[in-house]
Amino acid sequence: MNDSTHDASNRGLSNLDLETPEKPYLDSNELIINMGPQHPATHGVLRVILKLDGEKVLGTECVIGYLHRGVEKIAENRTYTMFNPYVDRMDYVAAVSNGLGYCEAVEKLMNVEAPARAKYIRVILTELNRIASHQLWLGTHALDIGAMTPLFYTFRDREEILKIFERYCGARLTTHAFRIGGCQYETYAGFEKDVKNFLTFVAPKIDEYEELLTTNRIWIERTRNVGVISAADAISLGVTGPVLRASGVKWDLRKAQPYAAYSEFNFDIPTGTNGDTYDRYLVRMAEMRQSLRIIEQAVNGIPEGPIMAKVPKIIKPPVGEIYHSIEAPKGELGYFIVSDGSTQPYRLRVRPPSFVNLQALDTMVRGLLVADVVAVIGTIDIVLGEVDR
């Protein structure tokens, strides 16, 4: 027990404001244990210090930064064009979204607009990537809780999306699909057919995932009323994306402040009511179906025309600053760029959804059991590459 108190002072836990429970019957001490950074259920290199009373969580502290690469510093030392591939390395399971946010932010700063066809291609790829990201989330989240089958199902189907990416731009994960001003590549012959085939292929597969989990008693026991966060707490903590919507806030940047071509499509914003892990699961499942709707409208209405706006070879935005954000699969992904009129950003700040959402972990897990911490980390859907940048 001495060891644990020693640990606490060493790790600066004295600053952490944790309530101590009333004196229990036996003289027992709180236990401080370490989860991660090498732990399969922390989805990378997240370290969580847990303060426990038996198996009950009294408080947590996240230790992050193991994957810190200084993306914002790199941006200041690269030209706008050179920095474009770096953003893919933040949220590497939704690289297309990162690229979309960055390219649109720079375009806004330069007062350029991408042509309609490029916007449609962007929407199709970004929504495909949203499905891929949600599939990866579902597979790993279910695996954490003990359901192994969904992992095989989702990875099998995600492969079809990655194949489309590969045929489109040669890369599967870090795609670098877009350029400032539009897209570099015209769609390949058969792109539209591939996307339509994928839509008919994946719709029944999503039903299949739901068959495995939605009415599964073990799944419901492990997720319902676990990691509850109220709408007020979520807003105060700056939580966005499916986590916010599952708490009942009907807010999606694609609707609230439409970018790319999203204002031209019909889709709904799925919301939950309880703000628990089960609702977040349902919201993401519904989102995948909404993404299919968007892709279907986009691929049927894709206009002809150029795919690049007239942008100079050397990107040199005028002096000024801009904040632009998009609805990434994990929440609001924003770029704040300050330009001094040169070819390199003077300052580039990424507002990462995973980083901000992870901060809500402590609120969500207090009073739960250790096993639920694993479920809650999964349900927030973090990617450590984006948390640490």
């Binding site: 600053n15 930064g65 914002e72 007062n111 807003i235 806030v249 980083f355 901060q359």
Partner: protein, 211 residues
């Protein structure tokens, strides 16, 4: 090859004409263009005063300590440091800016007050964004807004970690991404891209250099 023949010939000219027209709205005085793309770029749009009842209300209250501008359709307040906790609290309590999107800083080493601290706020009921900026000197601190928005906790820690700006009243003001004993604040302009805390690396990792 086939693509090149197809696309650039008919469609781009209308595209090229549309864009400068959009730019001219923002900067009408950008002089006679010789080439359509070139003149708009160096001149660029300029910030214009931001007119709204919200601005008038606060200007009436705080006078010269507050300046409101719009750039590329985005509104921001440039606020005196002494007004900071009040303005932020009023924006949340009275104007429903209930969501603090981001807190960050920008370093201008040649300026007397070296840092811009920037709050990006959003209001769910108004569907509106606003930025609040203030200038502070190196070594000066700024009041924490954790009591206004809980999300400010980690965001302020990151600003401290990267720039060395202290937030007064923050419950846990320590580094977040870099290790606790690290020396230096990497996003300052005087911190080199290859620079590292070699002492930390040698002690903690047991290697000569992290490069």
């Amino acid at each position: 090859m086939a693509e090149e023949v197809k696309s650039p010939v008919p469609p781009p000219p209308p595209e090229g004409e549309k864009k400068p027209a959009a730019e001219q709205r923002a900067a009408p005085a950008s002089a006679e263009p010789v080439k359509p793309a070139a003149p708009a770029k160096p001149a660029g749009p300029v910030p214009v005063p931001w007119m709204s009842p919200l601005v008038e209300k606060y200007k009436g209250q705080y006078g010269s300590g507050i300046d409101a501008q719009t750039y590329l359709g985005q509104n921001y307040f440039a606020v005196d440091r002494s007004l900071i906790p009040n303005i932020l609290r009023l924006l949340r309590d009275e104007e429903q800016f209930d969501y603090c999107v981001d807190i960050t800083a920008v370093h201008y080493p040649q300026r007397e007050k070296q840092f811009d601290v920037v709050w990006i706020l959003y209001s769910f009921p108004r569907n509106e964004r606003v930025r609040v900026k203030t200038q502070i000197a190196d070594g000066a601190s700024i009041p924490s807004s954790v009591s206004i928005w809980a999300t400010a906790n980690w965001l302020e820690r990151e600003v401290y970690d990267m720039f060395g700006i202290q937030f007064d009243g923050h419950p846990d003001m320590k580094r977040i991404l870099l290790p606790d004993g690290w020396k230096g604040h990497p996003l300052r302009k005087d911190y080199g891209i290859l620079q590292q805390d070699n002492e930390w690396v040698q002690i903690n990792l047991g290697i000569e250099s992290g490069q």
